[in-house]
């Protein structure tokens, strides 16, 4: 079947088999290997991407289900050379070791902050609870997302301040 999927802002039209999983479509057909494949059962979450604005496990989504939809992957997280604050947080707080769960964790972290700009530690833990990490014991992942929340709050405050001064 022929599908058109908007991935990271770019439309991709491809012929895919009905059974092709979204994770394999992204990795094998589009060459976006930042999204990983880990368990086939939606348990580990290394394949987490956004379908429209919602994080999904792309190992249990068919590529055809993404036809006409927007997909965002880790490759679409940075704004050019400028890393997303969530990416910056993972670097600053040592939120990763082997890096295999990292793209999925960051996509979930970004989605959480879009919905809740000031999440508590418990809220962050709940948000990433459907994803596994075997290296970090989660501590620094939680800190990384919290770092990004703080960073963005500070940036917003500076923007507001500048706006008030301008007025």
């Amino acid at each position: 079947m022929r599908i058109t999927v908007n991935v990271n802002g770019v439309d991709h039209e491809r012929e895919v088999s009905n059974r092709t999983l979204l994770v394999h479509f992204l990795r094998d057909d589009l060459g976006l290997t930042g999204t990983h494949w880990g368990c086939d059962t939606s348990n580990c979450g290394v394949c987490t991407v956004w379908l429209d604005e919602v994080p999904v496990k792309s190992c249990t989504v068919l590529a055809v289900m993404a036809d006409g939809h927007r997909v965002r992957t880790v490759e679409g997280l940075a704004n050019g050379a400028e890393l997303d604050p969530v990416q910056q947080g993972f670097v600053a707080c040592h939120g990763l070791q082997c890096g295999f769960c990292t793209p999925g964790m960051m996509m979930t972290g970004r989605a959480l902050l879009n919905e809740n700009p000031d999440p508590s530690e418990a809220e962050i833990r709940e948000a990433i609870s459907g994803q596994l990490c075997r290296c970090t014991g989660y501590e620094n992942i939680v800190r990384s997302i919290r770092w990004a929340a703080q960073f963005e709050a500070a940036a917003r405050a500076t923007t507001n301040e500048t706006a008030e001064v301008a007025q």
Partner: protein
């Protein structure tokens, strides 16, 4: 309005040597630009898939692959019969046993490799597996290690000539006669059957390989997520008869290893054969079920432990008998002379008169493996059994388990300490670490809270949870090892390093070990920086490519820093010494007149007269006349043969709340004090400890590879094999003491596995402590709600065979 919102702390700047710094690896990993084996795409690449046995033990009556071969997208079907014609149906294991690559006579565990399909895409390869028709004659099987040596147990390894039982080895350590003597005279003896059940390291990236045999040059390039690329290359040379220089193993970014990626798996060999047969590159990636069911598991140690002590609480001796379940093939990866790994460090952190262990290895109809999951070659089992037994003794003596430990710990003045099983512990201040952990957790406060709770409970109040506090004090033995004693397949466990300073003063370091997330590209650059004063940002670390790096045995058993970290320091010092000669020539002074400060040689008494390492590097490549016998350029090589292992240690305290009505355990706090000697990058050390603590929660409470009565693996997916999530893990509370290793060039000890080794006992001890009011002395891992509940009912289960 003035903002009160402060931005978060910025990432630390790069230090000139040791200290916190951002990892160099993170630039690619946070952009999704890592290069894992499944990311490798080659022109014309084909995909392989493995047909596996549905039975634990069965004779192969017939195998028909015609229909699979006729599949339009299939390029080759490789069977055991095909491999037999090439002499490749069996391969040697890292423990001098043999293992079937593809089964020819019979299958010996569920999930064993039977056939390999090579097709144009990964889905078609899987489709074709369904078209292979195998007729099996199911045989009786044995899954319970304790029954493996029964006279009527089915014979698993009838492929081995003259083999009449399922026995693999007997091994012992310590002085049996002396130990028995102490026990015979002891005032108190406690005994317990303790199981360390089979678990799986379950790295999030499964095992896989891309094999590319170039038919013109005859060179095989194998991308494979192996933790030991050099050892693998040698094995392939020995197995397949390929010349070693014609094999290049590239171990790219690895998505976690934990020992799971040390062995050579049949899938790798099949991918190589597939590439030879088709003339195309062949990728094989196992799926999660294949990973959990067939690759290197961990533990499966069935222990009977005894402790002898005085009534006053002086621990005198320990003895342990073990049945070690190695599965259907003995493929454990460990030093040759140590079939039970370093289990004989089980005397732990205590001053004992005697200790003895006897380990019997057996075959069962289960997947092969045993040494994996951050175990430091079975130190995990050793630390667990001794730390569980100390609590069993405390229970019997009715004394506080922390006080009992404090009274028996080795004292600082006893180091270097010769243990009753032959180890020489290098350094330690054990009481200091335990005291720090107790202070951090507020030991007396938690005990007071618990006492009040127990009073309410005794008065009949059943509304609340029960708090438990568990202590674990571990001593590890890591950094294998001295080549005189330690080898794998005859390859001594010494590792090479090569350092070259370029004309502009930047450097490249080539090391034999391979990172699976440990951050070698950062920490090894920091070691060079510390020694030479070249910024870590200016040092490229090359690893994971046998064509580009010196020989060495790889990364496992926490050996990278103890062995290759030492090699790196030594090679940097060699470069520094060479730089001194060049500097002397530049300054026209004697080398004896020069002194070193980080980054430059200068004339003693005249600090302004000096040359930086960068100036020296340029001169060493330039026209400067060098003294007789001194070659130009600025580089060095070394091979580091460690004089001893390093012995990191730590004190862990876990606080849990247990609901006796449901058996649910909630980990409230976890305090971990680690001493791994000098810390190169404290952030990375802490991260490694965090990960190991999560392992401890997982193994103690959740993880289990069990088997039913038909030999079905009950942990074959992440829906069945439960790993800890962010919800089960508390926020870790870390502390540290620093006792440098006296024999390591920079005083460092291994740390990658410390927390995995030390933490399970703390969690189990905490749960048992919570269950004190029910008179529960011991129950086996994993302490799932149902297993806790059964223990509370006085009916604990054999968790590994799912029988009550």
């Amino acid at each position: 309005m003035t903002s009160v919102i402060e931005p978060p702390a910025a990432a630390p700047a790069t230090p000139m040597g040791f200290g916190r710094m951002v990892r160099k690896e993170d630039a690619r990993f946070t952009r999704g630009a890592g290069n894992y084996v499944d990311d490798v795409q080659l022109p014309g690449m084909l995909h392989g898939a493995v047909l596996r046995s549905p039975y634990a033990h069965a004779r192969i009556v017939s195998l028909d692959s015609k229909a699979a071969e006729a599949h339009p997208k299939v390029r080759a079907v490789i069977t055991g019969a095909v491999l037999e014609t090439l002499g490749l149906a069996w391969m040697p294991t890292l423990s001098y046993d043999t293992q079937a690559v593809l089964a020819t006579d019979k299958v010996r565990f569920q999930g064993q490799e039977v056939a390999f399909v090579v097709a144009e895409d990964r889905y078609s390869a899987r489709d074709a597996l369904e078209l292979i028709d195998v007729e099996y004659e199911v045989l009786p099987a044995v899954f319970d290690a304790k029954r493996a040596l029964a006279p009527d147990a089915p014979l698993i390894r009838d492929d081995k000539e003259g083999k009449a039982d399922n026995h693999i080895f007997d091994w012992e350590s310590g002085d049996k006669a002396k130990t028995d003597e102490v026990f015979a005279a002891a005032e108190v003896v406690v005994a317990e059957d303790i199981l360390y059940p089979r678990v799986h390291p379950a790295p999030l990236e499964t095992c896989g390989a891309v094999a590319d045999m170039n038919p013109v040059t005859g060179k095989l390039t194998l991308w494979c997520n192996t933790q030991a690329p050099h050892a693998h290359r040698t094995v392939y040379a020995l197995v397949a008869g390929l010349p070693e220089q014609k094999i290049r193993v590239i171990s790219p970014d690895i998505g976690g290893g934990f020992g799971n990626k040390v062995p050579v798996y049949p899938g790798y060999v099949c991918a190589i054969v597939g590439s030879i047969v088709t003339g195309k590159p062949v990728k094989w990636m196992e799926d999660r079920s294949e990973n959990l069911m067939s690759t290197g598991f961990a533990r499966d140690y069935h222990m009977h432990a005894e402790v002898a002590a005085t009534r006053a609480g002086k621990i005198q001796a320990v003895r342990v008998k073990v049945i070690a379940d190695h599965g259907a093939f003995n493929s454990t990866a460990q030093p040759t002379k140590f079939p039970a790994g370093f289990f004989h460090v089980f005397s732990g952190s205590y001053d004992l008169e005697a200790a003895h262990c006897a380990v019997t290895g057996v075959y069962t109809n289960k997947a092969p493996g045993g040494v994996a999951y951050a175990c430091s070659f079975r130190v995990t089992e050793a630390a667990y059994v001794i730390e569980r037994m100390i609590d069993v003794l405390a229970y019997e003596l009715k004394v506080d388990p922390a006080e009992l430990r404090m009274a028996n710990l080795l004292r600082p003045e006893q180091f270097p300490y010769n243990s009753p099983t032959g180890w020489e512990y290098d350094s330690g201040d054990y009481p200091k670490a335990l005291r720090l952990a107790m202070d951090m957790v507020g030991y007396d406060g938690v005990r007071a809270e618990q006492a009040q709770q127990r009073e309410r409970f005794a008065a009949g109040d059943r509304t609340g949870t029960l708090t438990g506090m568990g202590v674990s004090f571990f001593t590890e033995a890591v950094g294998a090892g001295p080549r005189k004693h330690m080898d794998i397949l005859g390859l001594g466990m010494a590792d090479g390093a090569e350092l070259r300073v370029h004309p502009t003063g930047k450097a490249v370091l080539r090391i034999s070990v391979q990172s699976q997330g440990q951050g070698h590209e950062t920490t090894f650059a920091q070691i060079v920086a510390e020694e030479l004063g070249i910024s870590p940002d200016d040092i490229e670390v090359v690893h994971g490519d046998t064509d580009q790096t010196p020989f060495g045995l790889g990364t496992y058993g926490s050996r990278s820093t103890p062995v290759s970290g030492a090699a790196t320091a030594v090679v940097a010092r060699k470069v520094r010494d060479r730089a001194k000669i060049v500097a002397a020539a530049m300054l026209e002074v004697s080398v004896d007149d020069l002194e070193w400060e980080k980054g430059r040689w200068f004339v003693a008494g005249d600090p302004d007269s000096g040359r930086t390492i960068q100036e020296i590097a340029l001169a060493a490549h330039g026209a400067l006349e060098l003294p007789e016998g001194v070659e130009g350029h600025l580089d060095a090589t070394t091979v580091y043969n460690p004089p001893n292992l390093t012995f990191p240690f730590g004190a862990y305290i876990c606080v849990v709340d247990v609901d006796p009505g449901t058996g649910v355990v909630k980990v409230r706090r976890f305090v971990a004090v680690d001493d791994c000697g000098v810390r190169i990058n404290p952030t990375i050390v802490e991260g490694q400890i965090h990960g190991g603590l999560a392992d401890g929660i997982g193994m103690a409470l959740m993880e289990l590879i069990a088997f039913d009565e038909d030999g079905n693996c009950l942990g074959g997916s992440f829906m069945d094999y439960l790993l800890p999530t962010s919800m089960e893990c508390p926020s870790w509370e870390l502390g540290e003491t620093v006792t440098p290793s006296p024999h390591h060039p920079i005083g460092a000890k291994g740390v990658g596995e410390s927390a995995t080794v030390g933490s399970p006992a703390a969690v189990v001890n905490a749960v048992m402590d919570a269950l004190g009011p029910f008179g529960v002395r011991h129950a086996d891992m994993p302490l799932t709600p149902s297993n806790v509940w059964r223990a509370v009912q006085g009916n604990p289960v054999r968790t590994d065979v799912a029988i009550s």
